[in-house]
Symmetry: C2
Subunit: 280 residues, 2 copies
């Protein structure tokens, strides 16, 4: 398959590495509105050649949109306007309702499938691409009944080549679930980082004691605002819901500390320990 990767960063670049390795991609075309990024992707051998978006649409069998989600809303109608029914378009974005709304009634809607491979790191750009990022993880296919059978089949084969399992959700479910298991983790990390960085103003040596536990909870605070602000814009309502609930839970801990109710605090930690079911 000739595959165009539109936005050759962490996700697009890591897909390129694996799709080349498994032989699923015969030609990898890099498209990036930032010429330096495109050149870097070429230098790193992530892609075989670079093209403009328009050029890539005349040759690619599969077009994967892996830009920040704000750009996708504009790119997607532009791409669907220009493809034949032998081409398949998919996105890999972290939000879905806004993206799918942008092409809801497009005549080529069937050639598109919304997907979300649940994998990533806190780094971004072509140099962040790594081999095996998706291996044995799961991807989501969204509102799949609006895609043609051919489109669905191609997406299944592509993610099989990446060695990923598939979960089927509708756009609303997807955006709620990701707010809970991904977006709030990022807000929590950004906030923790800011809290401790603020304290560093007075206590210069505060980070001398930072060890694995701290690193684990703040590593996502390295994540790029260019990627995350459009996610928070598009998924604002769900993120607000979960953020309210999270602040309430923290306020409960605060109240128990104030009242020195360590019996109830103990019980809440025992309840939280149930997370081991998920972390296994």
């Amino acid at each position: 398959m000739k595959i165009a990767i539109v936005g050759v960063g962490l996700i697009g670049g890591s897909m390129a590495i694996s799709l080349r390795k498994t032989g699923y991609a015969t030609h990898l075309i890099g498209v990036d509105k930032n010429p330096a990024n495109a050149q870097k992707a070429l230098d790193l051998n992530l892609v075989d050649l670079t093209m403009t978006l328009e050029e890539s649409l005349t040759v690619a069998d599969i077009i994967i949109l892996s830009t920040p989600v704000g750009a996708m809303v504009k790119l997607l109608p532009f791409v669907l306007d220009r493809i034949s029914d032998k081409q398949v378009v998919m996105d890999v974005g972290s939000t879905k309702e806004a993206i799918l709304a942008a092409i809801e009634n497009h005549p080529n809607r069937g050639s598109f499938i919304g997907t979300h491979p649940m994998a990533g790191t806190e780094y971004s750009g072509p140099e962040a691409a790594i081999e095996g990022l998706f291996d044995e993880k799961c991807t989501v296919f969204i509102d799949v009944e609006k895609s043609s059978d051919y489109t669905h089949q191609v997406a299944k084969e592509l993610y099989q080549a990446l060695n990923m399992g598939v979960v089927y959700l509708d756009a609303k479910e997807h955006d709620t679930h990701t707010a809970y298991v991904s977006h709030i983790s990022h807000i929590s990390s950004f906030a923790l980082a800011l809290t401790v960085l603020a304290k560093e103003q007075d206590e210069k040596r505060i980070f001398e004691l930072a060890s694995g536990g701290f690193r684990s909870t703040v590593r996502l605070a390295n994540s790029s605002p260019d990627m995350w602000i459009p996610i928070f814009e598009q998924n604002r309502d769900n993120v607000l819901d979960v953020l309210d609930e999270h602040i309430n839970t923290l306020a409960k801990f605060r109240s128990l500390l104030i009242k020195k109710d360590f019996t109830k605090f103990y019980q809440l930690i025992e309840e939280a320990n149930d997370i081991k079911r998920i972390l296994k």
Copy 2:
């Protein structure tokens, strides 16, 4: 050196493994008020033999207290009452003001040194002990001017055997710093776990999408309440301060979402990205 480990769990057990391997410990004595734990430590070959606390104090050159910090406040005066000036006692607890206050005017205060090796995992008990846990990490020596030169020297040699660097702090600094770079990370993880577990009541499939980022921010929620409740009891005031600041930071994000002020939100993420200095 004959070393008694009082409380053979994750930390005590992991110290035993490394102190045996480097040859610093010639005899390792396991002491645990829970006989099953002591037996497990023996079965796992963490220690050479088990004894009662009283017995161990008649033979050990170094006594390491690695129990939950609530027990230490009671154990420490009992131990100092029974040792000679050729013995050295140290604790490895996560809080220091309450522990040091308990022996402030003890005639054998010089034989004691408060230490805190900054390493751990979310697991506990003898079976959680692992080799190399402390390697190239740092330990804190607290209020070292109240320890004799001999005690200080022995502690330096022991942590050198564990391949750890030493940071010197007073008890108040230590307890403030750990509230910011360790204790709040645990509260944040417990709260995130509870928030998403509560949502699971309505959305059974919510965890299907949980990937590396979520795992990273909630893994500490596996931590034992038996270890953490005494830490929150003893360090309540500092933990309340940082929890208030953390809730305020989250409330700022909430307010920006409500107002759709994504320009300011972008700036805050850029500020949070400065955490990369620490995570390197």
